[in-house]
């Protein structure tokens, strides 16, 4: 049913679709083209009666519009419902995401609370094979006082030793192939007697723990599979033994302007550079340099290390320890002090922004001589070091000069109460990482020392070593190293067979 006003309005304002021309304009209403009388409505007056044909057309048009309108209404309703569903889905997803985030935060808090202490057990296994020329020892006696006649009548010729007892080192720990006739360095853990041998250098265990953000604990031991001679009354052949290398607490002081670490316990020294890379996986070469005996020892005491400047390039480290940074086994280092005067050491370094870093450092150390009771018998040393790492080239160099005063009682031979040592040592190591897995290297080191102990012995050491080698890295857990050390005595000391071939396979975990 259509109201009359609507029909009238449609007749007046709503031209049929077929009355609209191509320009979209409605034609002017003019005189009728057919039998229909002219209809010119006047607004406000009653509309004229439309013809039946018009009514039918209007009716059809209106029905069409009504159907279209219904479809649009249904579409609109559907879209509204879709929109509502999407909104509800979005809200549900938002709630779910929020819930998951809250859950994750709570879990993280629980994990953080449960694990204030994060620990890691690492370490490595170092096995290898070696061969040392001659009897495996780096020293020979001056038989008949031929080379150093000044000791004739002072010491028996077999107590005048030429060479370096540690020049035939076979592993990263610095164990010599044999100590031979050495009188000062007598601990002979390898005792190869000049024969080639396989060796399990060390099983290293390294436990590190962080307690909170500011406390770090480390304990490191080497398990040493070695010979055991139960018949030896001197105990020089210990058999398997454990070497506690590090045992310290590190307090990371919460400072803002600089970084400060305070260490207490059996710590790394602060002298030079090589001590930082003395563990087998870290060391490029198989064996340590001739200078390492003076700089790689791990004394007991306190240490502070501070890093300054925005890029932490300036590092100052200082320590107060029982003994010096001499290595155990060399005869001048003890863990428990035998005097009151402690050893003070320090190092200042700066890292330049060249490649991965160019570091220059200067170190010094002063204290009472180790392994003797007097507080006024001194031992000191100083040195400089350099380390460069750029574009696969690694270069490290170090010079250390020092003196152990020793003590002489009235009427006894020089250095009779405490041994004396004057020493200079240096090395330069150049490595080139040709490939990810291949790094050839060469080290040149030198040592000039006089080690004297009253009427007991004298060592005259003046030598240079050249050690070419190659390091293969198979991934990050396995390294294989091989090197050949050419030992050359300098000065009046005659050459003798003491070259060394050493290899090492290090599996890190």
């Amino acid at each position: 049913m259509t109201s009359s006003w609507l029909l009238a309005a449609a007749a007046v304002y709503g031209p049929a679709a077929d009355d609209v021309n191509s320009a979209g304009e409605a034609p002017e209403l003019g005189p009728p083209q057919t039998e229909a009388p002219p209809v010119v409505p006047a607004l406000g007056s009653d509309p004229p009666e439309p013809s039946q044909e018009q009514l039918d057309r209007f009716e059809a048009r209106l029905e069409e519009l009504a159907a279209s309108n219904e479809r649009l209404r249904e579409d609109n309703e559907r879209l509204r419902e879709d929109n509502e569903r999407l909104r509800e889905t979005g809200e549900r997803l938002d709630e779910r995401v929020g819930s998951l985030e809250r859950e994750q935060q709570a879990t993280q808090r629980r994990v953080d609370g449960l694990l204030p202490l994060s620990s890691r057990l690492g370490g490595y296994l170092d096995v290898g094979a070696f061969w040392a020329a001659g009897n495996g020892s780096g020293v020979r006696p001056d038989t008949g006082h031929v080379v150093f006649p000044q000791y004739d009548g002072v010491l028996p010729d077999s107590w005048v030793l030429m060479g370096d007892p540690l020049s035939t080192q076979v592993n990263s720990r610095g164990d010599p192939a044999d100590t031979g006739e050495s009188l000062a360095v007598t601990f002979d853990p390898v005792d190869s007697r000049g024969k080639s041998s396989f060796i399990a250098n060390a099983i290293n265990l390294d436990l590190t723990s962080s307690v909170g953000k500011h406390l770090f604990i480390e304990g490191m031991v080497d398990l040493m599979p070695r010979n055991r001679n139960v018949a030896n009354p001197d105990g020089l052949f210990l058999g398997d033994f454990i070497d506690v290398k590090l045992a310290y607490i590190d307090y990371i002081v919460p400072t803002r302007r600089f970084e400060l670490d305070l260490y207490a316990g059996k710590i790394d020294p602060v002298f030079g550079y090589e001590y930082r890379i003395q563990e087998s996986p870290d060391r490029i070469s198989v064996t340590p340099s001739l200078a390492c005996r003076y700089t790689c020892g791990r004394p007991l005491g306190f240490k502070a290390r501070a890093k300054f400047l925005a890029n932490r390039a300036l590092v100052l480290a200082a320590s107060l320890t029982n003994g010096s940074s001499f290595q155990e086994g060399f005869g001048f280092a003890n863990e428990i002090d035998s005097n009151h005067f402690k050893t003070v050491a320090g190092r200042l370094s700066y890292r330049f922004d060249v490649g991965a870093g160019l570091e220059l450092g200067a170190s010094g150390q002063f204290g009472a001589q180790d392994l003797q009771p007097a507080d006024d018998v001194y031992q000191w040393q100083y040195g400089v070091d350099l380390h460069l790492d750029v574009r696969g080239v690694e270069f490290a160099s170090e010079l250390v000069i020092g003196r152990v005063d020793g003590a002489t009682a009235p009427g006894e031979e020089a250095c009779g109460s405490a041994p004396c040592l004057d020493f200079k040592a240096a090395y330069g190591l150049l490595g080139y990482r040709a490939l990810n897995w291949l790094m050839p290297y060469v080290r040149v080191d030198w040592r000039d020392a006089l080690h004297q102990s009253g009427a007991s012995f004298v060592y005259v050491s003046k030598l240079m070593r050249v050690t070419p080698g190659v390091r293969f890295e198979l991934g990050t857990h396995l390294a294989i190293k091989a090197e050949y050390t050419i030992n050359r005595e300098l000065g009046p000391i005659p050459q003798f067979a003491n070259d060394v071939l050493s290899t090492s396979a290090v599996a890190k975990f």
């Binding site: 870093g357 750029v390 990810n436």
Partner: protein, 229 residues
């Protein structure tokens, strides 16, 4: 006048009126821009290098950015990430090629993006696509000195300053928006900027950089790197 004519006449008048109003409408819709300078205080001094400050205008409608058409690259050479700061729109990919002759293991524990690319050697590369905005700290699990930051932005209205600290952001619809200036080693700046139609708003920002920035981080498993690292 017939009703149709009256209607057409009215429409024509409205059209003319509309045409008369077009310039103002267009001006009202014309985007504006923001330009200015960043200064960075370090202690009492002005820092000369004002680069790597990220300026963002937030809250602009329809400002979701398109991802970069090509991946950004953070190179690993000499045990250093180059560059140390990378800014990418959300959804972009960053490549991490290893050009060192040692293995690297790139990882991040940041909330916006946690990933571990594992060990890989020289000449190889791995990638990460960043789907969430935020600041991502990137490290190497082997070399603690290696550190970089990736800033993932969720707006196309951002810019990174050069050494002179100058910046300009174009194409911003008129309105008042939050403006943020982010730097790696210092405080975040947050303010409001009014963008006027067809005009450039000058907006200078002063930041304060930490004199002694700290970046203590652990390996990917939360344990410390070691004694000298």
């Amino acid at each position: 006048m017939s009703p149709i004519k009256a209607l057409r006449s009215t429409l024509a008048s409205l059209a003319l009126l509309g045409l008369a109003m077009v310039p103002d409408t267009l001006v009202a819709l014309a985007p504006g821009s923001v330009s200015g300078h960043v200064t960075i205080k370090r202690g009492r001094r002005d820092k000369k290098d004002r680069s790597n400050v990220v300026i963002l205008v937030r809250g602009v409608s329809d400002s979701w950015p398109d991802p970069l058409p090509q991946p950004a690259v953070i190179d690993q050479t000499d045990k250093t990430f180059h560059p140390r700061l990378t800014v990418v729109p959300v959804g972009s990919t960053v490549d991490f090629p290893n050009n060192d002759r040692v293995f690297h293991n790139v990882f991040s524990l940041s909330r916006s993006s946690t990933f571990d690319l594992g060990l890989y050697k020289r000449g190889t590369s791995k990638s990460v696509t960043f789907d969430r905005s935020g600041v991502i700290d990137v490290y190497c699990n082997i070399h603690p000195e290696m550190a970089a930051k990736v800033v993932v932005v969720d707006t196309k209205h951002y810019v990174v300053t050069g050494p002179d600290g100058a910046f300009e952001l174009d194409g911003i619809p008129p309105g008042t928006y939050p403006i943020v200036a982010w730097q790696a080693d210092g405080e975040l700046y947050e303010g409001q900027v009014e963008v006027k139609a067809g005009k450039t708003t000058t907006f200078d920002i002063e930041l304060r950089e930490e004199r002694w920035p700290q970046d203590h981080h652990t390996r990917k498993d939360g344990t410390p790197y070691g004694r000298y690292k």
